[in-house]
Amino acid sequence: MKTRVIHWFKFSSPQNFYFLAGKMWPWFAALATVLVLVGLWISFFVAPVDAQQGQGYRIIFVHVPASQMSMFIYLVMAGWAGFGLAFNTRLSGMMASALAPTGALFAFLSLVTGALWGKPMWGAWWVWDARLTSELILLFLYLGFLALQASIDDPRRADKACAILALVGAVNVPIIYFSVKWWNTLHQGASVSLKGSSMASTMLTGMLIMVFAFWMYTIAIALVRVRTIILDRERHTEWVKHAVA
């Protein structure tokens, strides 16, 4: 009896991954949709009102997932980048490029929702809170990655240069976070968080479900984006010509 062996490495070729991604992304999109609906339900109809922040705290149900994902995506990007540099695979660089815009958008969302949360709670549109400031710097790191990619014409060179940048950035993120945290405490800054009010378990559940929803969404969108990148980069190959026709 012959056992079927899946040769996973065949999916490191852009051609094979293109079709795999094509089959996978609808599942992640569906999962994301379901999770978002459940999460929104919990956010608005199950989670109770907060003692100190009233109904305004509900912003955490988008702010925290956006922050978490922006940081997580950066690490995954750096991971793909490192993998691509180590094994010289074309696809790894493409995956990093596919993830970057989503990560940047989540960083941006984190800042905007953070401002919308801070204004009613602390009276100012922007507070130099350690987490918000670190998020701002993370956005700069993303923008640097996207800018470097846009300015190098050769895609392979762009991928590799961005990979180094992503790795250097990833190593620096803890250092930057620590130094900003220190800077903030010395200057007695405000803190945008739910500290001081106990987190009801429903709030935590709602937050976690939204984080997962954002995660599934990220995977779906990155898979669709990488498919377009693959088509663009591999346009001179026969399989692309047939796939498109």
Binding site: G56, R58, T113, W117, V224, V244
Partner: protein, 57 residues
């Protein structure tokens, strides 16, 4: 259900602008991103089809 009425829900305890603003911009960004990804895919496909056609001619 903790909302006394639909108006109550939209009023969001006085935080309407901030809460709906946050969820609103999140939705907007997500929709925009999905649209942008699909538009880019259409553009690349169009370019590739044009290349194919001009090669066959």
């Amino acid at each position: 259900m903790q909302w006394l009425s639909v108006e109550d829900f939209f009023y969001m305890g006085g935080y309407a602008f901030y809460v709906w603003g946050s969820f609103g911009i999140t939705a907007l960004v997500v929709v925009a991103e999905i649209w942008q990804v699909r538009a880019k895919r259409r553009e690349i496909l169009r370019n590739l089809l044009n290349d194919n056609d001009s090669q066959q001619n």
